[in-house]
């Protein structure tokens, strides 16, 4: 299922570009004239719609890259095991909140443990530890939960229901641990880089760079390493992979570790982009991650990237014409439209029959 970026990739990219351009033009036409200052935050009233749209495309691309990083694990797990993991959102939240827990100068607590304390590690160290611990949670849940379920040949639909239950349980545990308020990973405003009429926050830029490197590393892993190719082989056909001598279960274990770690990193970077994270940050973007993965083509690792960029751009640009609270709805609207036109997703291939 994970294919090389071949001809189809470029065709899909072209398709995407055309769709994005059409969308932007449509927005310009519908929006017309100076934008309503209320619908967007930092740009001064009176800015032309064109400027506004381009600024939103920039924000959208940034959000898309971060969303892709958070979602790529969802796609990897679906590809190798067939599971739609509804608990993936909590994995994203966990990375952000653990980083906050380790790095903040405020007093923190652990449920059932008396007393409060501060750990106060530097942000970068806290983030590294959080990513490693996140990976560990992936290892642990595959060991204790998913692998036993697969061994007993529990169908993926039932597994999905288990993941929904797990998601709710984890959500409540996260709230118990961190309360209902939002937490900022850093108080530094970070400043912004302006170029002409446009800008990007330095924190955002940093996050996007880190996310891009991580995504590139995933791509190289899948395409250029033996283990990565075995992962793609399992996505294609687990029984044949086993028949080829691949230890399918250990590679799936590795996929769980990678997915959880990437989700954790995605959560941390999204918290920087979003100026904070709460117990439900991941749950809020769960559907967007599913949309991104489905849009790109289910189980296609590169699909998650393409899909997430579309979701990011569409949801940000749509704020030019609709209320910002509705932005995610427009992304889901695009999902429906794309699936009507290309049922297999942007990068997906129709299974050849016979």
């Amino acid at each position: 299922m994970f294919t090389r970026p071949d001809r189809r990739f470029y065709r899909a990219a072209a398709l995407l570009l055309v769709a994005a351009a059409a969308f932007v033009i449509a927005t310009l036409v519908i929006g017309g004239g100076p934008a309503d200052a209320e619908t967007v935050e930092p740009v001064a009233a009176g800015t032309s719609t064109a400027t506004l749209v381009i600024q939103n495309v920039i924000n959208g691309l940034a959000f898309g890259v971060l969303l892709a990083l958070a979602a790529v694990g969802l796609s990897l797990i679906f590809g190798t095991t067939g599971l739609s993991n509804f608990a993936h959102g909590e994995q994203v939240t966990f990375g952000a909140l653990l980083t906050f827990f380790l790095s903040t100068n405020e007093q923190v607590t652990i449920p059932l443990v008396p007393g409060s304390f501060t750990i106060g590690l530097p942000l970068w160290l806290a983030a590294i530890i959080a990513v490693i611990v996140s990976g560990g949670t992936g290892w642990l849940q595959d060991k204790l939960l998913w692998n036993p379920l697969r061994k007993r040949r529990v169908a993926v639909l039932q597994q999905m229901v288990v993941s929904i239950g797990l998601s709710l349980a984890l959500l409540n545990m996260l709230q118990w641990w961190m309360g209902a308020s939002r937490h900022r990973l850093t108080n530094a405003s970070g400043g912004r880089i302006t170029f002409g009429d446009f800008y990007i926050g330095t924190q955002t830029l940093m996050s996007v760079v880190i996310a891009s490197i991580a995504l590139l590393a995933v791509a190289l892993f899948l395409l250029k390493t033996r283990l990565g190719r075995a992962t793609r082989a399992i996505s294609d056909n687990p029984a044949l992979a086993a028949a080829s001598g691949i230890r399918v279960d250990s590679i799936i274990r590795l996929v769980w570790v990678m997915s959880a770690a990437l989700a954790g990193l995605g959560g941390i970077l999204l918290a920087l982009f979003d100026n904070g994270a709460g117990f439900d940050s991941g749950a809020r973007i769960l559907l967007l991650m599913f949309a991104a993965v489905t849009l790109g083509g289910l189980g296609q690792a590169f699909g998650a990237l393409v899909g997430a960029l579309v979701v990011g751009v569409v949801s940000e640009v749509s704020t030019v014409v609709i209320a910002p609270d509705m932005r995610y709805a427009s992304a889901l609207g695009i999902l429906i439209i794309v699936l009507l036109v290309r049922p297999q997703g942007i990068l997906g291939t129709k299974e050849r029959v016979g």
Binding site: M1, R229, A242, S244
Partner: protein, 244 residues
């Protein structure tokens, strides 16, 4: 083991196996394969031929009885452990990784011995030169016959002692079918023991040393290929009345 059984490579001893608990597809199937033999298994659709190969290869759970390889009990071992012990398996359907290139498919075949990949690739390249020419093509874009080649080449990458083939000629043109049988015989001549399930019963029995007729999950009878070709019951059921 006595001298007489020494050259036995694989035995199936009263094997019961099935996909769903309580429903067995193999009902006390027994057979024996000697080192270097080419065994053909024929039988009606749904007889359990594919299931037999899958059970031997650890992909279908065996509930009773056992498989023995070289004197070792290999019942219900994981597929990757069986690969390590020198068994190669080409399934009847879905036998390539469609999104991987031909070269990547072959690499997966040698997954447990990456250090021998180059050397095996040369050997396989002699058998299937066309695969090397098109090594960067995705297997999903190949024709059915070409896929069968990739599938067989993939299974040969580990240099197996035993090769299990499930209907390697299915869906091929007559010329390609012939090629497949000749190649199988060839591989067998190079010392690989082959167990081959076939619908093309006549061609299969012509090239195999011994055939088994599998019916309703049991090995109904066995004889040399030539004998089975002359057996009236086999002629009537599997070869058609015109054959002889």
């Amino acid at each position: 083991m006595t001298a007489a059984t020494q050259d036995v490579l694989i035995t199936a001893d009263d094997v019961w196996a099935g996909y769903i608990p309580g429903v067995s597809i193999l009902n006390g199937c027994s057979l024996e394969v000697k080192k270097g033999e080419l065994i053909g298994i024929i039988g009606p659709n749904g007889a359990g031929k594919s299931t037999f190969l899958k059970a031997l290869f650890g992909l279908v759970p065996v509930t009773e009885g056992k498989f023995v390889l070289d004197g070792d009990d290999i019942t219900n071992l994981r597929a990757d452990q069986l690969v390590k012990r020198g068994i190669g398996f080409v399934p009847q359907t879905n036998n390539v990784f469609p999104s991987l290139t031909i070269l990547e498919n072959l690499e997966m075949g040698a997954y447990q011995r990456p250090q021998a990949f180059k050397e095996r690739l040369d050997v396989i390249g002699d058998l299937f030169p066309v695969l090397i020419e098109r090594k960067n093509q995705r297997a999903g874009s190949l024709s059915g016959g070409e896929r069968q080649m990739v599938a067989m080449a993939r299974a040969l990458m580990m240099d197996p002692k035993v090769l299990l083939l499930d209907e390697p000629s299915a869906g091929l043109s007559p010329a390609r079918q012939d090629e497949t049988f000749v190649r199988t015989r060839d591989i067998n001549k190079h010392g690989v023991t082959v167990i081959m399930v076939e619908q093309n019963a006549r061609r299969c029995l012509q090239i195999c040393d011994r055939g088994y007729v599998l019916d309703q999950g049991t090995a109904a009878y066995t004889a040399t290929g030539q004998e089975l070709l002359k057996d009236p019951k086999v002629i009537e059921l599997y070869l058609g009345t015109l054959g002889a």
